[in-house]
Point group: C2
Chain length 352, copies 2
């Protein structure tokens, strides 16, 4: 494995006894280069397998063509699909994507952003950690003139372009549906309400109950310590041990819902006859559970596409339109068989 150093424009220039500038111009088909020189250059470039050094170019142009994306995790349908949306959008504009995971660590997030700044990425797409309460590291980007778009998770008080999903609306739909389907004692497995997204889901739950004339029972709200199925197990164990009357559950996400369903079955209860269940996220496997899990679908791919689009707009229209974009996409309730039908005569509409 002989390590040739890559051919440069200078190598070609020497071999042809011309200057590097001539070679550069020939390769770019500059009009003031003779046809013969061009031919020679192209020929030699092919022969030596010349590849332009993008580093040198980036240094010169002060742009790398790389977009940095920071997500809390890539495992899981949600962020992976957002990344797909981003990828597809930026690739079509000739940009490359540098993907990093913060693993929900604020320190990691700061470090990653810093490192990517050193690499001179042209812009950022960021979905902040749940532990991101201060935004100095984002402000730094703004004052350095590096465009950024926040997606999926809001940063209250921080001004920037944002692409979010209307969690409140999704939650409201889900709970409203449960109530209209006959549930009178709907519980909520909530996420940490310090986080806007989960506060919104809780609010949607509360408002939907109240708008339907149901009173709120605080002991039907249980807070999950995390977002894995194991947390769902814990949450539901806690809930059932309270012995409250209970005929419906709105879960903060599908993974948790699945853990919860496991416990429901284990206690000999039936879904949806005894307890209806609605999740959030519409994971790819949710429709294959038994019973298939009703869930709130989010336009994840679109979030990715739109975020990327907004970022790309910064590159082309440098004349920064005043103000920041604030886009809120609508989720959609997908009804399957884990929740009772509103009209007992209806057969549940099963989505695959």
């Amino acid at each position: 494995m002989q390590k040739h150093k890559p051919t440069t424009i200078i190598d070609i220039a020497k071999a042809l006894n011309v200057s590097p500038s001539t070679v550069s111009r020939a390769l770019h088909d500059h009009p003031s280069i003779s046809a013969e020189t061009k031919r020679n250059v192209h020929e030699l470039a092919k022969k030596f397998n010349y590849q332009p050094n993008l580093l040198a170019l980036s240094l010169l142009n002060k742009k790398t063509g790389i977009i940095g994306i920071v997500v809390p995790e890539i495992t899981g349908y949600f962020f992976a699909t957002i990344i797909n949306g981003v990828q597809d959008m930026v690739a079509s504009a000739g940009y490359k994507l540098l993907i990093c995971q913060s693993n929900e660590s604020f320190e990691e997030e700061k470090k990653l952003i810093h490192e990517m700044t050193l690499l001179r990425v042209d812009g950022f797409l960021i979905s902040p950690t749940f532990n991101t309460k201060t935004f100095d590291h984002f402000e730094k980007l703004k004052s350095a003139g590096i465009p950024l778009v926040i997606f999926d998770r809001d940063c209250p008080g921080f001004q920037a372009d944002k692409v979010l999903v209307d969690s409140y609306h999704g939650a409201y739909q889900a709970v409203d549906y449960l109530v209209k389907a006959g549930c009178r004692h709907v519980a909520h497995i909530a996420g940490p309400i310090a986080i806007p997204t989960f506060k919104q889901r809780l609010d949607g739950y509360l408002d939907a109950l109240q708008d339907n004339g149901l009173s709120i029972n605080d002991s039907l709200i249980v807070y999950s310590s995390g977002f894995s199925s194991e947390c769902g197990i814990d949450a539901l164990t806690q809930l059932l041990d309270q012995n409250e009357t209970l005929d419906g559950i709105f879960s903060v996400n599908d993974a948790v819902a699945i853990g919860a369903m496991h416990i429901i079955r284990e206690r000999g209860l039936r879904i949806p006859q005894d307890i209806s269940m609605v999740g959030f996220d519409d994971e790819s496997y949710s429709c294959f559970f038994n019973p298939s899990l009703s869930s709130v679908w989010q336009p994840v791919y679109e979030v990715g596409m739109l975020s990327a689009k907004i970022l790309l707009d910064h590159f082309s229209n440098s004349e920064q339109a005043e103000g920041y974009r604030y886009e809120v996409l609508k989720p959609e309730l997908v009804i399957r068989s884990s929740s009772a039908s509103p009209n007992p005569l209806d057969i549940p509409r099963v989505h695959l």
Copy 2:
């Protein structure tokens, strides 16, 4: 959003009336710089918020500190977890990761590798497309002296460092278990056998049957057109429509198995009483199905860690040990309740 250009070492030099070299040395704590100068430089660097330009450095050192990883997809537990393993390993060595998806497209794979070469990534981790039959683009990397490690999917005939999982062994275990549990008519939902991984799973299936003295029934082998749950639905519909006797299924992966289980239930058959099921991959949700899905777990995270480690070794020991590393990791059968217990008295061991 005023776009300051970033401070350079030259700005500091001018402000202090010294040469850039002095600033550089001061920042690197070079011994031949006076304590006072160092103090001044550091002070000003902090004040101006100086950030070294990694592009210039990369250009100089001919290394970027970036590792390129090309995977067929990032959606899904398998590759996402491998990436986690890689990430953790390379981060500890100070490398950054450029993640790209080929979407199982050979052309895309070639294009991505080419582009990443232009960006001068220091090395590659590649899991080839199912459509990658020729390896010229890999050979190019080798002859350019760029180290690469192939993982998860083998490239027959191409010499390189490889980290693979022993699919044959996993499949053999699964089918051997099904037979010992009493299944006499074990079907296999196979992947495309043009791909070594799936050929191995098929071979494991065949050998396990024969070693147990069972004959092979070709109509019990059905080929799935893909790897999603929808494909499992198709495959099993086809299988059941043949009306063959059938009491066990070994599926090419969990997603397909889940689609298959859906159909089994729909036809009024019971799992595992009528048909036992074992999948492959041990997805994170598999243990929450009803019944929970037995599966072959693969050491995914370890594949990532080891692949990255081997690549990193190339950077430190440039004195290339002769020959290529060829690592084959062992998968492990995880028995849950979708498969009958070997001894009817045993209660199935349920893994969470």
